[in-house]
């Protein structure tokens, strides 16, 4: 399988320089390297900027509703267990509209892979705060600034019993690598991709310099307690150091 086999004719409409282009490149490379046929994959996306990926990535599947990516993945996987199933969501999709599905997907631990493009903002609806927007974030709907703490999705995933919890930055190499790891993992794989929104949340571009690799640090990904401590290092509010890589992995299937 070559790049052209999984590329549609549609011209991307993401903003110039959007990190979603980097994610798309990483996703395509990972799929090609996995040495399967195009028909062996199923792709589900939600609604938001991330979901345009469906229009550019020529795989079978569905560009579904806002928040409903995970139950759709479940339905596909249970119907055709031989398929490798990818779900993609934004942070609005995963942590607001569809949070209940996320918790239960971790509990079910069925073998599909979930990638959350987290830009901490509702970008396609022009800039409203999401459950992971930092304190003080302002837009036209929230002129006095966000007054509640963001949730920490990695801790929610760990607490819900997820068997694969990871975070990467929107860099093609990191995305390609983590997709490979997620596909190899038997069970539900949760991957958050930090994807700064250059238009509505440009300050988060600084994340790139604050990220460091858990693998290089010798993190023990089989330790729940260490995973929890690492997940605690970045609270989505103030970024000092942001761990990336696989926080936790245990196989139950």
């Amino acid at each position: 399988m070559e790049l052209k086999d999984i590329t549609t004719k549609t011209n991307p409409t993401w903003c110039p320089g959007c990190p979603n282009f980097m994610i798309l490149a990483g996703v395509k490379n990972a799929i090609i390297k996995f040495k399967k046929k195009r028909e062996d994959f199923a792709l589900v996306t939600g609604i938001g900027c991330h979901a345009k990926l469906f229009d550019y990535l020529n795989l079978n599947g569905i560009n579904s509703l806002h928040g409903r990516v995970l139950p759709t993945c479940l339905g596909i996987k249970k119907a055709k267990p031989e398929l490798t199933v990818f779900g993609f969501s934004g942070d609005g999709d995963a942590y607001a509209e569809g949070m209940e599905h996320l918790i239960h997907a971790a509990r079910f631990d069925f073998d599909y892979n979930y990638f959350v493009h987290n830009n901490q903002v509702f970008a396609l609806t022009v800039g409203q705060p999401t459950p992971v927007s930092e304190l003080g974030y302002t837009d036209k709907t929230t002129p006095n600034g966000v007054s509640v703490y963001p949730i920490n999705p990695l801790k929610i995933m760990l607490a819900s019993g997820a068997s694969f919890v990871a975070r990467v930055y929107a860099d093609p190499k990191q995305v390609e690598w983590i997709m490979g790891e997620a596909m190899k993992h038997k069970g539900f794989s949760f991957v958050e991709i930090l994807q700064p929104c250059l238009v509505f949340h440009p300050q988060t571009s600084a994340y790139k310099e604050k990220c460091y690799s858990l693998e290089k640090e010798g993190h023990d990904k089989t330790s729940f307690r260490e995973a929890w401590n690492k997940a605690d290092e970045f609270d989505y509010n103030v970024a000092e150091k942001i761990p990336t890589g696989v926080f936790y992995q245990v196989e139950r299937v």
Binding site: E39, G61, P71, G75, A79
Partner: protein
């Protein structure tokens, strides 16, 4: 000949087991048996009762007066004393429930061996049950000289059995649900039979998850179905609309109970005809079918699957608590339409999509997509003429025409026996059989288990014919129609 027996007791005392044992025994003896369940939303205590009606002729409903009342607890006799006929029999006292089975068999003059056989099939507590039943049998005298049965060979099933068997025989692959009365027993029945069949059932975290998992499975070419009641169906409606635009064949079993809101959780109503027709934003094709007995539930589930697969559309089978959880005597399950699976995994979309399956905002493509869906709508309507969309009972030439849909069929068929009345039961809600306007006589009478006459609204919308207020027999207290009361209501409106 027609006898009504009321079995009452606290939840947990086993009035259902008792009613089932008697019902099964009477069916094996060749009688026609029907029973309905009246139970509260609690697990232990309270007051639950079943009314069983049996006859040597077909029977589909209860009456308001009882020949026998079985009071397993003290309360039943008091609560229902006004319903006992003057020459009726009350069986009460502090006994285990199978004592009453024995006593009942004796009172009716039925052979003890038949009861013994039923208790053997029941297995649970056989030694205790048989002893209690014998005590009861010996404690009372024969009171009724019931007509010998004609050795009818029937099976005894509830409406939800029709849905689940229809789904299995149509080859379903997946059934998803979240527990909600009165749809839950379809999940229970399917889950119990899962290991002997090649399908998958799963309870998910909520109805939104349920419908989207159904969509996910259906997209791959599998036959995928889900079930719920009104509140859960409300949660599903955004995804119903998705199935509509994306052309995904999902089948939804919608079992009604009284709304709005949580309403009355364990009682019956026909208040969801309009949401079945209209749920979901935007304009898209759907099929809505409404069975009135277990055999129709079986056949219409099959037809819902057929239409879904053939046209890539959502289909809804609308039933209710009364049909779903009442037991009927049916001859056997009929033959079904063969289902051909039509879908395969490709690129689906909740947006209007272009030829590659990608989202589009192109006005020409949008218009083409909408026109294609309209065309499919016409094809669905054309195809519906290959099926029986409504049924006619009674005097086909009568000017008195009763019209209804769904579970009211039983009480109406029983009530019009001997009257100069024609009864039209509408089974296809969407596509609606507009041609049935030709069947309306000069005196059209509506029967519905709701307060606003939703079928009357549909008839007015499709045919322009208005059913007068005084000709609308509506019941909306959570209870089903009873034969004798309904007969009076119809007689008062006959010309």
């Amino acid at each position: 000949m027609r006898y009504n027996i009321l079995f009452g007791g606290e939840a947990g005392q086993g009035p259902n087991v008792l009613t089932n044992v008697l019902g099964e025994a009477l069916v094996k003896l060749g009688y026609f048996v029907y029973y309905s369940r009246d139970y509260q939303s609690l697990i232990r205590g309270g007051h639950n009762f079943n009314v069983l009606t049996f006859s040597d002729k077909e029977v589909y409903s209860n009456d308001s007066e009882m020949d026998i009342i079985i009071s397993i607890d003290e309360a039943t006799a008091k609560i229902h004393e006004d319903e006992l006929k003057k020459d009726g029999i009350l069986l009460d006292g502090d006994h285990q429930n199978m004592y009453f089975a024995g006593a009942l068999f004796k009172v009716l003059g039925l052979p003890f061996e038949v009861l013994e056989e039923e208790l053997r099939i029941l297995k649970h507590r056989f030694d205790e049950n048989i002893k209690e039943a014998r005590d009861g049998y010996e404690a009372v005298k024969v009171c009724f000289d019931i007509v010998k049965s004609k050795k009818n060979k029937g099976i005894f099933v509830d409406g939800n059995e029709g849905i689940s068997e229809g789904a299995i025989k149509s080859g379903i692959d997946m059934y998803y649900a979240y527990p909600m009365t009165p749809a839950t027993s379809v999940l229970t029945k399917l889950a119990q039979k899962e290991k002997d069949n090649e399908y998958f059932t799963m309870e998910l975290e909520n109805e939104i998850s349920v419908i989207n998992a159904t969509i996910g499975s259906a997209m791959t070419g599998k036959i995928a179905m889900c079930g719920t009641s009104g509140g859960g169906f409300d949660l599903m409606t955004e995804s119903l609309s998705l199935a509509g635009v994306a052309g995904i064949p999902v089948i939804i079993f919608l079992s009604q109970r009284p709304g709005p809101g949580t309403g009355v959780a364990t009682y019956t109503a026909q208040g969801d005809l309009n949401i079945a027709r209209h749920a979901g934003h935007g304009e898209f094709n759907r099929v809505v079918l409404a069975p009135g007995d277990p055999v129709q539930a079986y056949k219409l589930t099959n037809q819902a699957i057929y239409f879904s697969q053939k046209f890539g559309i959502p289909s809804i089978v609308v039933s209710d608590k009364h049909l779903g959880e009442s037991f009927y005597t049916i001859p056997s399950w009929p033959d079904l339409k063969e289902i051909k699976k039509s879908r395969k995994l490709k690129r689906y979309n909740s947006y209007e999509k272009d030829g590659d399956g990608s989202a589009t905002e192109n006005s020409r493509i949008i218009e083409e997509n909408v026109l294609r869906r309209k065309e499919v709508g016409l094809e669905i309507e054309k195809e519906s003429f290959n099926f029986s969309k409504y049924e006619i009972f009674g005097n086909k030439k009568s000017k008195n025409v009763v019209i209804s849909w769904g579970s009211t069929k039983g009480a109406i068929v029983d009530a019009i026996d001997g009257l100069d009345v024609k009864f039209i039961q509408v089974k296809y809600i969407e596509p609606f059989p507009v041609e049935l306007a030709n069947e309306f006589g000069e005196n059209l009478i509506l029967v519905e288990n709701n307060a606003t006459g939703q079928l009357a609204g549909l008839i007015a919308e499709k045919t322009g014919i208005i059913i007068e207020e005084e000709n609308r027999i509506l019941r909306f207290d959570g209870r089903p129609f009873l034969r004798d009361e309904l007969k009076k209501e119809i007689e008062e409106r006959m010309k």
